[in-house]
């Protein structure tokens, strides 16, 4: 009995005719681990041993429950969003290590050491926003996301979530210091009212930082013991 095998798709992939062949030839999800399909994927330039491929397969299998169809181009498109370690690269920031789920949430809720330059940047940015908006939190004009992004670029992938948590603690402390300074200058001040001229001039970031200590997953003001 003669056995006929059609390898024309391999020749077409080799000559770069990806657009129609990948899309027009559906692959059954249940066949993805078969030898013939793996050969097909390898011929199309997909490294089936890579962590990117494994990450995509895990996602596809979980959502489809082994039912349905995919195609070569779809697999390639999905793989392009994972790094060599199989971690998802956020297309907004271009960075990995910022995805949170129930399994890694504990790694986010930590206080770690972050660069002084980022604390400086957050202090200046928070002060500018506070003065410009008279203490109102304005989602349209705030620059805080850019400060977080700059911090993440300085940190190792696995430290980014904790770094963001830590920076937020500093951000809160700076805002609170500004509120206290304004109220000290004008006890009747409320959010939205003009800030007295020069109310924030004597506030230094280092002075605020020196008053903070770690308490669990937060930074809190140190208590002062007074002995008489």
């Amino acid at each position: 009995m003669s056995k006929i095998m059609d390898y024309s798709f391999l020749l077409q992939e080799m000559f770069g005719n990806n657009s129609s062949m990948g899309l027009m030839n559906p692959i059954k999800i249940s066949d993805l681990s078969s030898k013939s399909v793996i050969t097909q994927l390898k011929a199309a330039g997909i490294d089936t041993g890579s962590k990117q491929y494994q990450a995509v397969m895990q996602s596809m299998m979980a959502n489809s429950r082994g039912v349905g169809y995919t195609n070569i181009q779809a697999i390639k498109n999905r793989m392009s969003r994972y790094d060599k370690d199989g971690d998802y690269v956020d297309p907004v920031t271009g960075l990995a290590g910022l995805s949170v789920n129930e399994k890694n949430i504990a790694s986010k809720n930590k206080i770690i050491s972050i660069p002084e330059s980022s604390r400086d940047e957050m202090f200046e940015s928070t002060k500018r926003d506070f003065l410009r908006e008279n203490g109102v939190a304005n989602g349209d004009t705030t620059n805080r996301s850019a400060v977080y992004l700059n911090l993440y670029r300085k940190m190792k992938k696995n430290d980014r979530l904790a770094a963001g948590n830590t920076l937020r603690q500093y951000e809160r402390a700076y805002t609170q210091a500004f509120v206290e300074a304004v109220k000290s200058a004008d006890p009747s001040w409320e959010i939205g009212k003009p800030i007295p001229y020069g109310a924030l001039d004597n506030i230094k970031r280092e002075d605020i930082d020196s008053l903070l200590s770690v308490s669990g997953n937060k930074l809190v003001k140190k208590s002062i013991d007074v002995q008489i």
């Binding site: 169809y69 956020d90 304005n138 705030t142």
Partner: protein, 153 residues
């Protein structure tokens, strides 16, 4: 003697309570939420949709802390499987696979503790899976509403 001591203690406690009532400033605080809806998001063949930025306007208080985020997915009929991606202003990235047949609200506590102030980014990612073998491109379409609830003071 005991009765005198008791009276002294009671008057000290009453004085302290009076001090707390009149000396401590009145602290404004409360809970609120913001509701933000994307444009219609389309993704096909394993690609992502446009990234929709939402979150305009002001937020209450000077200190805010998210207590939960509700994400309502309004999915178009005949959508193929997709993943919803939500990124907070602090860059935290959360994703999940919603139903493709039922509009539904999903709740997450992943963003708890964060300040919701700023732009949120939402997009969908087509999984590259179709249940129709004759369909050339798997496609997904949805509109997403993100609602962070927060405490403020």
């Amino acid at each position: 003697m005991k009765a005198v001591r008791k009276r002294v203690y009671i008057s000290i406690i009453a004085s302290l309570m009076a001090c707390l009532m009149f000396v401590m400033p009145v602290m404004a605080a409360g809970s609120s939420y913001k509701s933000m809806t994307t444009v219609k998001l389309n993704a096909m063949n394993g690609n992502i949709s446009q990234k929709s930025q939402v979150g305009a306007g002001s937020y209450l208080g000077t200190t805010r802390s998210i207590t939960k985020v509700e994400i309502y997915v309004n999915v178009d009929r005949n959508s193929d499987p997709f993943i919803v991606h939500v990124i907070s202003p602090e860059g935290t990235h959360y994703s999940f696979e919603p139903s493709t047949t039922t509009n539904k609200t999903y709740t997450t506590t992943i963003f708890n503790g964060e300040d919701p102030e700023g732009k949120w980014t939402v997009y969908i990612e087509n999984e590259g899976i179709s249940y129709k073998p004759n369909q050339i491109y798997p496609t997904s379409t949805a509109t997403i509403t993100v609602k962070p609830y927060y405490n403020w003071s």
